[in-house]
Amino acid sequence: MATYNIKVNGSSRDVNADPDTPILWVLRDKLDLVGTKYGCGIAQCGACTIHLDGKAVRSCSIPISAVGSMEITSIEGLSEKGDHPLQNAWKEHDVPQCGYCQAGQIMQAASLLKTNKKPTDAEIDEAMDGNLCRCGTYNRVKAAIKTAAKIN
């Protein structure tokens, strides 16, 4: 066990954890931030997607010891009022079915739109292909991303 001081959603948090504990489980079990989901644990489904210094990463595959001073943003911290353009677009398109993959989808899309304001269909596919949706909401995810990016 070691103590880590990490920055999560704009605040500084102290956590006791084994160095190999993935950020996913630190968020979920130690900080009660359960919006970030577990789906595979091996960086293959995207359910656990968060931002590290603004970039989408798979939190299941990055140990707490590697975080250092990097800023963690989870779905709970994406916007203050749940009104990030992507969250609004998700609501407009009524994207979710079961909803389990959706936090990961939104975080992945948010990272995409940060670096690519007007992605093409192919660029959206490429950015989002690591995020599984077992319910098959892909068409709505894509439509919502386009709405948020104001692409017709």
């Binding site: 595979c40 079915q97 389990y100 709505r140």
Partner: protein, 712 residues
């Protein structure tokens, strides 16, 4: 101001505030289950129970209980919509709460068979209508008029003079009034529906997109520990011994123990429990046969050539039809096992004490699970309570409460509240798989007509692997359906659209080939057969040919079937399952000579569409799921062990593989039928038939990816 601070809230702080309130009032919200579509909720000071389905606050806010488990089929929105419709209130004033298992109030609390709406339709409407009548009666008493002179409108009871009383003002009196009997209420005429038929957002939408606790995996309870379980690596093995020294040295581990042929690790976090499980050293021995897919294949093929003494259905004389045929077409279709792979791996919370068993989690069958847990722990059922969380997918896997039973057993041994969590590897290797199956179709053709039809099905632990009364039953003079079962120690179970998830592909691919052989357009060929079933059915008729004809024509029209567009190839498929009629057309293009499915046009007859927004989502999901598993779902066993254990090697459909989906509903006012499953079965057939139209070889075996290169 103090009052406002407590009572005025928004969704983000809702859970906390409802927690504050739940002490003194009737509130009793279940944790994490409460949502509504508006930004600001002014909470009432008092809730009045009208009946088990709903309560009304003095300010007119209505809480509606959603009785059935929510697995993503959107019943938590559509079922309360039906109640609100008959209650005659505004949807924006409704809060939805997930009901717990309560057999006294609710009927059929099951998510399965696409039956929630169909089975619940009348009881939900009646629940709303009786509540409405109680409010009307309360107003009549207050105004001292005959209740039959009053009407309701958007949450108000209205007098002939136009004078109004709000439901909120009447709630207290109504809750104390005589209960109204179901036979004393008149249900609305569907043409007067105001909520049913409108595009309504998922009631959990806000909580989902902001990451609020909603799912079983999100459960946190006082004093709770996490459990991870090691199970035999192969079906047919049992535990001999284990060494837990390394596992116990993992920090956070509280206990390790054997139960049955499994080993439980209890720890203070999921990570510790999972890590410690990996550090266990166990020795297993073979108890039964360690089975192989190769052997299953040979056995199933042999069964396809075996005569059944008890055919499922027999009309006319197929032998004679084949003897007299001009031509015969015979084909075999093969399907592998499939894991469900709900994105939320199985999990459950259990707290077993001397006098009580509390269960909470994602389960499609709460009542059945309560019974099984009671039996397992040798407790009376009354001691066992089951609360349901939203589920990260069901697909049939959560019909089986094995994980809830494991959680209960572990909690009873560990003597503490336990959250059992499967890893993805546990989930994929300890499944209740879609059974592997094979079908042999044989058709007799005489003078350009289908005169004989013989289907033999064989599946692993599948019981009856056919749907003998489905089309083309009643449309063919000589008809024989037989089924065989191969017993296996691999656990199998229902998987979204059981049996038909593959049978429909096989049948519809066969029909396409048959139409080509006869020289008819695939749509025309089907229509002719349905006309026959409609006008002059052979034997028992168990489906409505008129509805099949309706969706086939609608799909053909909307897809411009038969209009040639350069470089676009179409495949047709139609199937009836779970009381809903569906026809689909897949459009395929070639990219560097390899097929790519671009979009699927889907026509559906599911009666009244309660919530078109959610309904379209179901249609899209069912088609994408059907196409995904037909193309990629590859699962087999070697020496009793699954060949995949995680998504690193097991391929599922992803965004770039998914076609666009168009949904077209037949408009009618028939009672609604379900949508969670019926659009899946025809999808694989539409796809394979489009590939054939594009000049690719016919596909007889899933997953298609093993046979041809597909552009995803």
């Amino acid at each position: 101001m103090q009052k406002d601070n407590i009572f005025q809230t928004n969704r983000r702080s809702f859970l906390k505030v409802s927690g504050i309130l739940s002490g003194g009032l009737v509130l009793g919200f279940t944790w994490g289950s409460c949502t509504r579509p508006e930004d600001i909720i002014v909470m009432p000071k008092e809730w009045y129970d009208i009946n088990g389905y709903l309560k009304i606050g003095e300010n007119g806010l209505v809480t509606i209980m959603s009785p059935n488990p929510e697995i993503g089929q959107n019943v938590k929105t559509s079922m309360p919509m039906i109640i609100a419709e008959e209650l005659d209130c505004l949807w924006k004033n409704v809060i939805v709460e997930q009901g717990a298992l309560n057999t006294d109030v609710f009927s059929r609390q099951v998510a399965g068979g696409s039956q929630s709406l169909r089975a619940g339709w009348t009881s939900l409407r009646t629940a709303g209508a009786t509540a409405r009548k109680m409010l009307v009666n309360a107003a009549a008493q207050q105004w001292e008029v005959d209740p039959s002179t009053l009407k309701t409108e958007e949450g108000f009871v209205v007098k002939e003079t136009g004078e109004k009383l709000s439901y909120g003002d009447l709630a207290m009196a109504a809750s104390k009034g005589e209960p109204v009997k179901s036979e004393d209420v008149q249900l609305k005429d569907p043409k007067d529906f105001k909520i049913i038929g409108t595009e309504t957002s998922n009631v959990d939408l806000e909580n989902i997109v902001t990451g609020k606790p909603l799912f079983g995996i999100d459960t946190k309870k006082e004093g709770m520990a996490y459990a991870s379980v090691m199970r035999p690596p192969s079906f047919g093995q049992k535990l001999v011994s284990f060494n837990d020294a390394d596992a116990r040295s993992v920090s956070g581990v509280k206990d390790v123990f054997q139960f049955g042929d499994k080993i439980a690790v209890i720890a203070d976090s999921n990570w510790s429990a999972m890590k410690a499980k990996k550090a266990l050293k166990a020795e297993w021995t073979d108890e039964g046969t360690l089975e192989n897919t190769e052997a299953h294949d040979a056995q199933l093929l042999a069964l396809l050539n075996t005569k059944s003494e008890t055919p499922k259905r027999k009309d006319g004389d197929v032998d004679k039809a084949f003897a007299e045929a001009d031509e015969i077409l015979e084909r075999i279709y093969e399907a592998p096992f499939l894991p469900h792979n709900c994105l939320e791996p199985m999990n459950f919370f259990a707290h077993v004490t001397d006098d009580k068993v509390d269960l909470l989690g994602p389960i499609q069958t709460p009542q059945w699970t309560r019974g099984n847990v009671a039996k397992l722990l040798n407790r009376p059922e009354e001691q066992v309570s089951v609360d349901m969380t939203r589920m990260g997918g069901g697909f049939g896997r959560r019909l089986y409460g094995d994980f809830a039973e494991e959680a209960a057993e572990i909690s009873s041994i560990a003597k503490m509240p336990i959250q059992l969590q499967f890893t993805r590897e546990d989930d994929m290797t300890a499944g209740t798989y879609r059974p592997a199956s094979k079908y042999k179709f044989k058709a007799a053709i005489k003078e350009g007509k289908l005169t004989g039809y013989h289907l033999v099905g064989a599946g692993v632990n599948m019981g009856n692997s056919t749907r003998e009364d489905n089309f083309p039953a009643s449309a063919v003079e000589n008809y024989l359906v037989e089924s065989h079962e191969l017993k296996s120690n691999i656990t199998t179970g229902a998987w979204r659209a059981p049996i038909t998830n593959f049978l429909a592909f096989a049948e519809q691919a066969f029909f396409d080939e048959l139409a080509t052989k006869i020289g008819k357009d695939p749509v025309e060929f089907r229509l002719e057969l349905f006309e026959r079933a409609k006008n002059n059915p052979v034997g028992k008729l168990d489906y409505d040919p008129e509805k099949s004809i309706g969706v086939i024509k609608l799909a053909a029209e909307k897809s411009n079937w038969g209009t040639k567009i350069d470089g676009v190839y179409q495949g047709f498929s139609a199937y009836y399952s779970h009381n809903t009629y569906v026809a689909e057309v897949a459009n395929v293009v070639l990219e560097n000579g390899n097929p790519r499915v671009t979009n699927v046009v889907c026509a559906i007859d599911c009666g009244i569409v309660v919530n078109p927004l959610g309904a379209k989502n179901q249609v899209e999901g069912g088609v994408v799921d059907g196409i995904g598993h037909a193309m990629f779902g590859d699962f087999s066993f070697k020496n009793g062990r699954a060949n995949h254990e995680n998504f690193g090697t097991y391929k599922m459909i992803r965004m770039s593989d998914a076609p666009a989906v168009e949904a077209h509903f037949v408009k009618n006012t028939n009672d609604p039928t379900g949508l969670g499953e019926p659009t899946l079965p025809p999808a694989g057939g539409a796809l394979a038939n489009a590939f054939a139209a594009a000049g690719r070889e016919r596909l007889y075996k899933q997953p298609f990816i093993q046979q041809i290169k597909i552009v995803g």
